[in-house]
Amino acid sequence: MTQYVAKRLLLLIPVVIGILLITFLMKALIPTDAVTAMYSGQLSEKDAAEAIATLRAKYHLDLPWYQQFFIYVRDLLQGDFGDSIRLRKPVMEELGYRYVNTIILTLASLGIALVVGLTAGILAAVKRNSWLDVTATTVGLFGISMPAFFFGLLLILVFAVWLRWLPVVPKGNLALLLPALALGLIEAAPISQVARTSMIDVLSRDYIQAARARGASELELVVRHALPNALIVVLTLVGLQIGNLLGGAFIIESIFSWHGIGELAVNAIQWRDFALTQAIILISAATYLVVNLVADILYAWLDPRVELST
């Protein structure tokens, strides 16, 4: 087990290097750099040329891309993610609290997605072909077909504009409510569909009938005998969904002015703020990789037939 985790963590290194390289090369393909983007049209031509040259030298933008890459990786290994050109402070300073915000939003949406999705899926499976099942499946179909950002805009329209229950840009804990609902309810849809299918499959298995034959009540059958088996399939989906949640957060955070790394990323790309963009991509990728590892470990924990072989 420890060996397995160590090996998986070691394997992350080449993946991270690959991510670094690809994002770095993307920068080489973008026509303007941050300094040019910042000053274009704001100063007289002579002043601008001078200022731009100084700044470009400061941020090594005048060097060939491979030299820039090595400088970047060297700094990175020393824990220095560089400075944000636009915000004029170290990237980590800005990223730290924003990362926490994104994690809060992701966990809140995941919680909503799991509670709503599992409840709906299990009830639909147990009360198969009832009005409850039909409703859950139909609503789920809408959820699967609708992008989270569109659903987010609908939520704003309904709760902030029409009903006026919430301000359009709420403060404090309330600020979390709508974005978490938007992301969570959309992700609840595939969870409920998979939970339903998986539960129906498990409930038809021989060991459920055998447990019924030895006196398990229908509630016990669902909760104690079937659910642990049905969750194995759901877990596979949820592992992938956390990636969706992180990705979905990019747009949802912008819509709801939630100050996470998603909102920052959208801005950073517009600013051509490379150090910032790169750090956000890196931290998102690392999160995704770690989540996958955790999902695999949970998988083995839920299903004794799965062995974590090194």
């Binding site: 021989d206 055998a210 009540s217 037939r305």
Partner: protein, 338 residues
Amino acid sequence: MSKALLAIQGVKTEFRLGRARALQAVQGVDLSISAGEIVGLVGESGSGKSVLALSMLRLVQPPGQITDGHILFDGEDVMQMSARALSAWRGRDVGMIFQQPQSCLNPVKRIGWQVAEPLLRHEKIGRKAAWAAAIDLLRAVGIPAPEEKVLAYPHELSGGQAQRVMIAIALALKPRLLIADEPTTALDVTIQAQILELLSERCRTLGTSLLLVTHDLGVVARIADRVAVMYAGRIVEEGPVEAMLTAPSHPYTKGLIAAAPQLGQAQGGRLKDIPGAIPDLSRPYAGCAFAPRCELRQSLSLKACDNAQPAPTTVGSAHTVRCFGAAGSIQSEMRVTS
């Protein structure tokens, strides 16, 4: 005959196939099992014997449904039991084991938990005591190193071990009746004899009645006291095992016995088979369901075979048969036609 522990009367079970169609899997069966008795229920695939076994515990799941009949267990009406009473009854007074032992164990739960579960549910004993009891139960069914095996998961067991575990679970609370549906069919031939031996030994020791559902007459000959032969949802012949095997009355029973391989039979000889197959049970028919395949009907050419259901006729001590052509029932058939 002594007072029946389980008595079923006129039980009908059907599976709905659509608005108007239903498959009549069990078409009115009477059967009783006395305390301590081992009864074999024999029939080919599709004869309804497994559905009958499930019906006895009211375990038939939708779209299946028991549509008629009575099931009495020790005088209590099983058909009237509430869901709660059924749960309390199953596992405590009756147990059941199935054909595929490995798929009947929950793949994500430890063996010990699964053996201890009925004890925890019905006996209200503590976890520690239940765990210790589970180890003893596994030892009683011949599982080697039960202290270690309680921690194992089902996929770590062989088929024979899994069936031993199923027997341990089913007999954990010393039920008065055990229903075993093809308990040895999925196992290696060498293991089959051991499991049968274990089943009959445990049942005799605990005084548990056993209903053994099987398509294998050899299995029945080995341990049963009484045999019921089922065909197309009905019991066509029923009697003591000796009489049934040496003097079968129904042409179907005769065919089954003739089709079973015998030790010492001439090498290279073909096994005798019964031509044809079980009729489509979703279509109603008037006569005896076996008539289209019946040699006796062809030789006697009785009209009643195609037009009426044969009533049970006694042909020996506690030996009854449902056949117009069988010995002793010809006269009654004559009366019908003349």
